[in-house]
Assembly symmetry: D3
Homo-oligomer: 313 residues x 6
């Protein structure tokens, strides 16, 4: 311990109360958190620009000043002192300019990759996934796992190709993305019937919440290429609005907490996680802050699973 | 498409962004939405008077300007251009006067029936079901399916016979109502033990949430007269407060989303739906608006199921 | 009266419960309300995209089904049956694309002008003023009155020229804008010292809230060219956050209600009002809805003043 | 002191933490507080039914367990141990039945009067003033002071005579009401031009907020019959929405705190206060609870002024 | 019935609208409710000091003026007129002084025990369990059942031994506590790995939510000493944040309503319940009030189960 | 500029986006911001523990990446690059232990003083002023200016001497505090009549809001020892609840923005400001965040005034 009690409500809100590194040429860490506070890609309520701050603050609830987080179910201490995590702040956003904002996000992810750290990006709306995926274009290929309510597979409407309804289509077009698994997809969205057909044509495996439940966690995991490098993009609206009301386009009938957690624990065990983003948390639509808490709880647990697997590796 | 992108947040909030028809003698539609913003029948918190506006606005989230709504689980495009739905605005409400307000609601439903359209009424508190049922007194008889936390079977207390605790009793008294199925009923309410006995005596089939779960969807559907004309009254507090906090008298332990959706899909398939109302949404008690979104999502899906069944018919 | 009581909480929320005209080639009115739900130009919290809906709903509070609104202080019935006001819905917004969105707003204003009606635009963030001003480029010149907390006179930063910090600079560059009066300007904003100098160089008259108070309403009115055609742009953050918390960039020390109302009543009396916009209302940051109510109350009163003056001629 | 510290947040919320007297035949007090949780008379948002509970809870903020409340500006200890105040709970409300609900309120006020105590009624919407005034029909006549945004002088619309837009008309018709002073009246309401004329014809003195300010407190007090028995009805929407957002029909441009307080201090000094009601507080529209706090603060201060004046007598 | 309709929203908020007994030497009841509004023991957000008031108000929703509460699933009338329940108000809290505040809570519980009534304590944060357990030191020993997200088994950190992370450790040290069953425990908390080991060493049986689900209710009940005297401490954060957002340290993945209810019904049937506390409800973080409603609903049902079991003997 | 646009919503929330210095032995700055997130001293609603985080986030609204903040009314660029401000994070708080928490705050202020920087402390409740004042006991004496609704001059009640009702009494007892000016004091509080007498006996100058207004800013400033070293303690509840609802004990009738700002500008000009604290901001009671914005706006402006005066010096 540090000599301080450092209760959750005490201190400046960096992610997990980890060190703030503002010089992106001096990242020395196993994982680096980048905020991507861009929400001009949204089609209903905006507000995800405050996602990074909201998730950072919520993450302090799980930061008790202990050396690592003990989970009695797994009998494991996660994220002990050997796992170096830093918060590198936010990508610079230029209002009214999607291109520049996305370029700045991409630059941040590239800086993390250059430092050899795991990129973890907190959105922002789901369009921030586009530059995240771009930043890996000089890395080894990977499979993409999306957990989301919406397919986000619109090619183009009214000229829009980089909004929050487009990222999976943009990813599928990339050479370094070898395939997609899309979980939680349900109900109406900006992707029309044609988009589903296109996704399937381009190799997507699409499952709804009910389909995932019916199959069970292990069977779903079996559909993801075993051992593949895996990038995970998690839209908070994959979850049921009961635990994730604070998002732009809530869709009822979503996943519950352990359903997603066990999927993430599974892929952390079976795949090499090369990065992940967590998007669409909108704190101003989250009056009891449970959505930010959910996002922080999921992100910290996933980080724990990833580094526990690497240690065992 | 219309030449407009027409994102969900754009435009005046009519139900599903459908045309507004203010002349009730000129309804030309397959279904017509009527608001019934009356909440003087409530026994805890009021606010359902803003239900119609809240549900209308939430319904725009599911209105992407596509020609119909594609559901990949059912591989079906619902509510395509062939289904004509209109919003006919609200029944006129006269404060302090339950009788006149109810009469105006009844007049609205009669106008829809006269036009040969399916009446869909958005409450308002559950007392608005009373004039809805009345309006069918010159139609063929039907069975009544209630999905609700509360039995609403009080005959009279302190002279009150038309509050939100009375509608099922009033319906059961009607000749054109051939029977009742009451699902989701749980815990304490304004209906005392005697009310339950009376309901059963008058032919009601009462099941709690746990009983419905134990039986399963199909077995529950089997208890509803097969092929019967069916009117559905859905009190949003049938749902768990986790997804429906914005209501006057929340009761824990309610239905989850797909439990109700699958029941509605079942009756749409097995019965002729003659009308439905959706009541007790109180937007001012719904800080993240998930309750209004739930109501809109359920209503739009139910409409989709109904007209898909009619097409197949 | 219409035969209906039509209480404020009853009915679909068009502006002032006025008719909805969706065919922009068929506007027959003295004034037409256009929503401009664009908020990608914001630099702190977004949400003004819901401004048009919020103001529309709030406007129903002042719509009691009377033929006109009686003000006992002025002993005048405003907006009687002779004043034809219509709501023409919203301009189409294309997410991630400022240019197209602005063009659509401009098209809406041009349609209103073509119909000979007074354009009233409800934002959206203050950048929507840019297309509003553009739409007048084939009209007679006018003076521009801005009521706002912020100068909004940034020329360009990081390439941004059409965000909500730029509109007054863009307006000042226009030939058909003969001068600016900027009232309520206070404290820090995105406009740096250089911007103030540029504004003054380009002919702006800048007064803070305290300066306006010290001068008094009449003296301030005297600084606006008497009898000039006048366009008014009102940013809701001109008002004190006590009555206008629901906005993106609140700034303390703003105007109180009657201070602005009396200025508006003054210019309506002394100038030909050629159009106005009211921007930056963000309903999701307005928990008690007083900001939307303020916007509606100001807009309806200003319309009343304008048409009362025209009648008097 | 009681041996307890009794901090404001501690204890069951009776008004001012005063004793709860449930037997209305056993009221022994100088003043008795009655809740009148009726809100079916509202024309926009309901919620005033929770006014009594909200004001009670807020009143505990001013209850520090001291023997009386010291005001350093007046150098006076108000409401010392000699002033016996009790809370007699709420009048019984019957949903959907305005007549019975009003009768029960009237019965409560009559019980207080019978006990020789000062009736203080916490609404509820403004229609609860109707039974309050009725209850005095066997008492000596009094002048009525209304502080409100709205004139509430509608005779009848669509048969409604006992809604919250009617009470001042009903009062003016009473023999035991000798005249009305109506302060704070502004902007549009359910009272049309004819209502204002009728009010003036029936002897009302109507002043807007700006007119009150221009005249000054003393000049306004001079317009109220000196020494007359006075009943005061205070609608919380008389206040500016900045301090009273939590009400059904907010109207901008209202009174500030001391403006009303000084009027109340003036009439307490100059008139015999025979009772007062404080209406239209809606806690569910008051997210920071400042409206309930305002109501409690005003009511407690007014009680202090009244009994200080009686002591000085 | 009382002659009054007594709707839920009517009347001063005592627990279940039961009589308020302020003289702690005159408690004549089967069960007595004590508020313990202390929250200085919290490590994230405070606010549980308003728990007693919040739960009291919410409890009125289940108070319809009937003689008892009929549950159709159990076909039982609970809490009929033979069960005497009183509300004895709150323990006196002294800010900045944990010791005195805890002593006052202990005194309240002792008064209830002395009167032979069942103590039911509404917190306040979980540290209020410490004085509750102390108050039983002259009673027969009992087993302790905790339902909670967090183990609360910290011995001491920075000198703190009586915060909300310590109560189970303090209880385990007591001679009259014969053992602990700790259900719902999950994820990170202030208890580090050492705390879990210590708990197990001191005889605790610890089960997570998933472990409880996997075992099933009956198997879990079997792990609690059959027939033992049992004290139950229920931290509202044991529940899923979907239904209990209004608490200081929400933790996702918690229990749903019936999971806890059936456990409580089970222990009421199998054990002698000697008292219970319900803690960590924070109304100011509960915008739709569903958490207070949950707490009230659980507490009233548990009371019903306890006294039904006693009657059956 | 930094090469980044750095919009207000972008980046980790340190105060004014200034550098975070976690090594308190390495403070090199003209002013250092310390958070003091302690709220166990409150007597109504808690929540001020989140004050430091709330004010930090709000301060970013005024941080546009410019080199300094231009105020056109003063024609001055405040806080230019020559003024070095750092954020040193929060004092460590130990729950349930007022003494240790206060000691840690004191240590933080001593560290700032040792570094020769101006201490600026963001509370936390007003009791945090006690250790702030203590930390100056080896500095030259100063006069204390309190701006507050409440006198906070309780000596002791139930043993409490370090709650938020005691700080001014504690300060007055100190040798290095030469006198007090207490502005804004009004209405009922925990200080009884005796406390006022004691304050005056110990040399306090007490003025209410109305008295300050009547005197005018200059006359009030004249009552403060000219040229004296001055410490300022600003309780946000000094302000009117209209602009400062987010606080524990709101009191109506408070100061408006410019009233306080002009006092602060006056003392910055006339006195040597040796430190200040800003307390009682409770973000969870501030739904539109205007209170945090107010606090940030006041603190940044006061810092600007202080360093502008020093430059002119």
């Amino acid at each position: 311990e540090s000599g301080r009690l450092d209760l959750p409500f005490v201190g400046v809100s960096t992610f997990g109360k980890r060190p703030l590194v503002t010089d992106w040429n001096a990242i020395e860490a196993d994982a680096a958190i980048l905020g991507a506070p861009f929400d001009a890609g949204t089609q209903f309520r905006a507000g995800a620009r405050f996602g990074p701050r909201g998730v950072r603050e919520a993450s302090t609830l799980f930061s008790f000043g202990h050396a690592g987080a003990y989970d009695h179910e797994d009998d494991e201490v996660y994220l002990g002192p050997d796992v170096r995590i830093v918060d590198i702040g936010d990508a610079d956003i230029v209002h009214t300019d999607t291109e520049k904002s996305h370029a700045n996000i991409e630059a941040g992810v590239r800086a993390i990759l250059k430092a050899g750290a795991l990129p973890v990006v907190i959105g922002g709306d789901h369009s921030v996934n586009i530059p995240c995926i771009c930043a890996f274009d000089d890395q080894a290929p990977f499979h993409l796992l999306q957990i989301d309510a919406h397919l986000d597979f619109v090619d183009e409407r009214h000229g829009v190709r980089h909004g929050h309804g487009n990222p999976m289509r943009r990813a599928a077009e990339r050479d370094h993305v070898t395939g997609l698994t899309q979980l939680g997809i349900r109900n109406v969205s900006s992707t029309a019937k044609e988009g589903y057909a296109a996704a399937r044509d381009m190799g997507s495996d699409i499952l709804s919440v009910r389909q995932v439940r019916k199959l069970g966690t292990e069977a779903v995991l079996d559909r993801i290429p075993d051992g593949a490098r895996l990038y995970v993009t998690l839209d908070i609206d994959a979850f049921c609005p009961s635990i994730a009301p604070g998002t732009g386009t809530p869709s009822h009938g979503g996943f519950l907490y352990y359903e997603v957690l066990e999927l993430l624990q599974g892929v952390a065990r079976r795949n090499r996680i090369v990065g992940f983003d967590l998007v669409e948390v909108s704190p101003d639509h989250d009056p009891a802050r449970v959505t930010s808490i959910l996002a922080a709880q999921v992100a910290l647990n996933f980080l724990g699973f990833i580094f526990a697997a690497r240690t065992r590796g």
